[in-house]
């Protein structure tokens, strides 16, 4: 556990020194077509997006515009019709643990405890570690999401918010190169959502895993992201606009809300969505 913390400490220390960041995720001319009885339905077309290492990008757009399709294509759970997706220059081949996913529904195995749920991924990614080491990794992340008292609780006995915390721990514990979040807090009430945003950003500040997150919530998009990507409405959705968020990290909700630029960003996003 201490090794883990030391490691993440080094990353946060050295991060500002790297000037030119590596290209982590590259979507080129991405296209998705669903065949329907009435002919082809083009969901995405000519979608280009570059995401740098250690960047947090949120994607916002109207319902049904193809955000989730895009994310599941990056995850490898949805076939690519045209164009390419590469991680660190290598085209992806199907799903894999280098791209961790936090689903909208917590998607925990309800018959497993929260520890077993996290271990399911950890065992898979660190097959050569000892059992104790793997346990430590899983427990470390469960502690980070505030579940140190619920290691051995069945997932089905946890509240929705607690389950999504396990989901976050499970995704970070497998140390993915890219973290994909598909509206992870969409099903939660606003209080719980705020709590989980804080937890997410706290872990992320330590781990700096490149993250792509879909959201419907303008404030959430601004609070979490380095860049907010706005998608046009489908069919043939593509990137409509990109907004750089220049708030310093680590951020707190208070400093963000009180920042002079906050309402300018917010207006920008809402104007785009209402357009």
């Amino acid at each position: 556990m201490s090794i883990l913390e030391a490691e993440t400490h080094i990353i946060t220390q050295t991060a500002p020194e790297i000037e030119t960041k590596e290209l982590m995720l590259d979507l080129k001319n991405l296209k998705k077509v669903y065949p329907t009885p009435k002919g082809e339905y083009v969901v995405l077309e000519d979608l280009n997006l570059q995401i740098m290492k250690e960047e947090f990008v949120t994607i916002i757009g109207h319902s049904g515009c193809g955000k989730t399709t895009m994310l599941s294509m990056i995850a490898g759970l949805n076939e690519i019709t045209g164009g390419s997706i590469s991680v660190l220059g290598k085209p992806i081949k199907g799903p894999g643990p280098d791209r961790g996913v936090i689903f909208q529904a917590p998607s925990l195995m309800p018959w497993m405890t929260s520890l077993q749920n996290v271990l399911l991924g950890v065992n898979q990614v660190f097959p050569h570690a000892t059992k104790a080491q793997r346990n430590d990794i899983a427990k470390y992340y469960l502690q980070k999401v505030g579940l140190e008292d619920a290691f051995h609780k069945k997932a089905s006995d946890l509240s929705q918010g607690m389950q999504q915390r396990v989901g976050i721990a499970r995704a970070f514990a497998i140390k993915p190169k890219v973290l994909l979040l598909d509206e992870p807090f969409g099903m939660l009430d606003s209080l719980t959502r705020g709590e989980l945003q804080d937890i997410l950003i706290e872990i992320w500040n330590k781990e700096k895993i490149t993250a792509v997150m879909i959201t419907h919530d303008v404030d959430e998009a601004i609070f979490l992201a380095d860049r907010v990507v706005m998608m046009t409405s489908g069919p043939k959705a593509k990137i409509g606009d990109v907004l750089e968020i220049d708030f310093e990290r680590p951020r707190t909700r208070k400093t963000v809300l009180e920042h002079d630029d906050y309402y300018r960003y917010r207006k920008h996003l809402i104007d785009f969505l209402e357009h």
């Binding site: 995850a75 490898g76 759970l77 199907g94 799903p95 894999g96 643990p97 791209r99 961790g100 996913v101 689903f103 529904a105 998607s107 195995m109 309800p110 018959w111 497993m112 399911l120 991924g121 898979q124 990614v125 069945k154 089905s156 497998i174």
Partner: protein, 364 residues
């Protein structure tokens, strides 16, 4: 002085208040005996027995009236009167052959229980009598002489339970693995589907005949009693379909989210089956197993009857053929025993289901 009085009063009031609070809490916490939960079933049981009694009495009267009237027209007034008196005296020669009343059934219960002790004593006597002979036979390498006398009602029930468990295990070991395999492979599912759809509705009688044809031929030349073998195989084959179909459905309809998790984590095929697919289909598999067990218990009677396996099925049929004054009430006793055991078997399965699977189902 005045002040102190008011203080003491208010203190008294406080005490009273405190006691009230404690009392109310006590009342709240002591499990208020839920009389409704006890009284309602008791009322319904009493009502059931009442209706049964009245119904049985009406049927008895109808039969008596018919027979007395018949005697009147055939043999005259004297014979009719004699018959009427005979019925009224409740003699064993003048019993009606209709639905027995609750009291008659209760009398049969006591008869069967007494009979159990009689048979038990018989067996003990037999064992003591043959002990010396059997010891010699075993020493000489021969099979010992076994008790072949009358079986008690308890022996009959045990025989039926053995048959149903053997049949259930057979169904389990056939249906669950096949269900998993065809649940995993849509191709195999299509290949086998016609087979399942055709054989699922086949009646227990036909299953028995089919098994009888095959087992009889396989065991040709041997003289051993194969009624147990035939009946449990028939029960198993007849009852396994619910488990087969439910297992296949459970395995093929695992929540897509779980499968996505397995894909993202790149779980191997075996891990995916044992860690995700099977646990998530356990509730459906168990629902299937519960149906299988209850179907097995239900068809058992018919199959034992046909196979002449000395269980409840044969008991019921022999009592019916026997036609003694008590046989109708013995049939009713068997009916209740069958019902109660069926209910207990289902509870037993439900308990196991709740122990091993993640979503708790209520027993209905």
């Amino acid at each position: 002085m005045k002040q102190s009085v008011t203080v003491s009063k208010s203190e008294e009031a406080k005490w009273l208040e405190g006691i009230k609070v404690v009392l109310s809490k006590l009342q709240f916490k002591t499990p208020t005996f839920n009389l409704k939960k006890i009284i309602v079933p008791v009322i319904s049981i009493v009502a059931f027995i009442g209706i049964w009694y009245l119904g049985a009495e009406a049927l008895r009267q109808r039969e008596i009236n018919f027979r007395v009237e018949k005697a009147l027209t055939d043999q005259g007034q004297a014979a009719a009167n004699a018959l009427q008196a005979c019925f009224a005296s409740n003699e064993s020669t003048c019993q009606t052959n209709t639905l027995p009343s609750p009291t008659q059934v209760w009398a049969s219960v006591i008869t069967l229980v007494n009979d159990y002790y009689v048979v038990k004593q018989d067996k003990l006597d037999f064992k003591n009598k043959t002990a010396a002979v059997n010891a010699k036979r075993i020493a000489a390498g021969k099979a010992p002489i076994v008790y072949t006398g009358r079986a008690s009602f308890v022996d009959i029930v045990i025989r039926s339970l053995k048959t149903v468990f053997a049949g259930f295990l057979l169904a389990f070991f056939i249906a669950v693995p096949i269900g998993i395999v065809i649940g995993l492979s849509p191709t195999l599912r299509n290949a086998i589907n016609w087979f399942i759809q055709i054989f699922k509705p086949v009646s227990p009688v036909v299953w028995y005949l089919l098994v009888f044809m095959i087992v009889k031929t396989l065991l040709i030349g041997t003289s051993s009693d194969n009624s147990f073998l035939i009946s449990f195989i028939s029960v198993g084959l007849c009852a396994m379909w619910a488990t087969l179909v439910n297992t296949a459905v459970g395995v093929s309809t695992v929540d897509k989210d779980y499968i996505n998790v397995a894909k993202v984590l790149k779980l191997g095929q075996l891990q995916k089956i044992f860690k995700i697919i099977l646990p998530s289909s356990l509730p459906l598999i168990f629902t299937g197993l519960r149906i299988t067990l209850s179907v097995a218990w239900m068809v058992l009677i018919a199959i034992e009857l046909l196979a002449q396996s000395p269980g409840l099925g044969t008991f019921v049929w022999e009592e019916f053929q026997n036609g003694s004054s008590e046989s109708n009430s013995k049939i009713i006793v068997a009916m209740f025993v069958i019902g109660i055991i069926g209910f207990l078997l289902d509870r037993f399965m439900l308990t196991i289901q709740n122990m091993v699977s993640f979503n708790k189902s209520e027993g209905i």
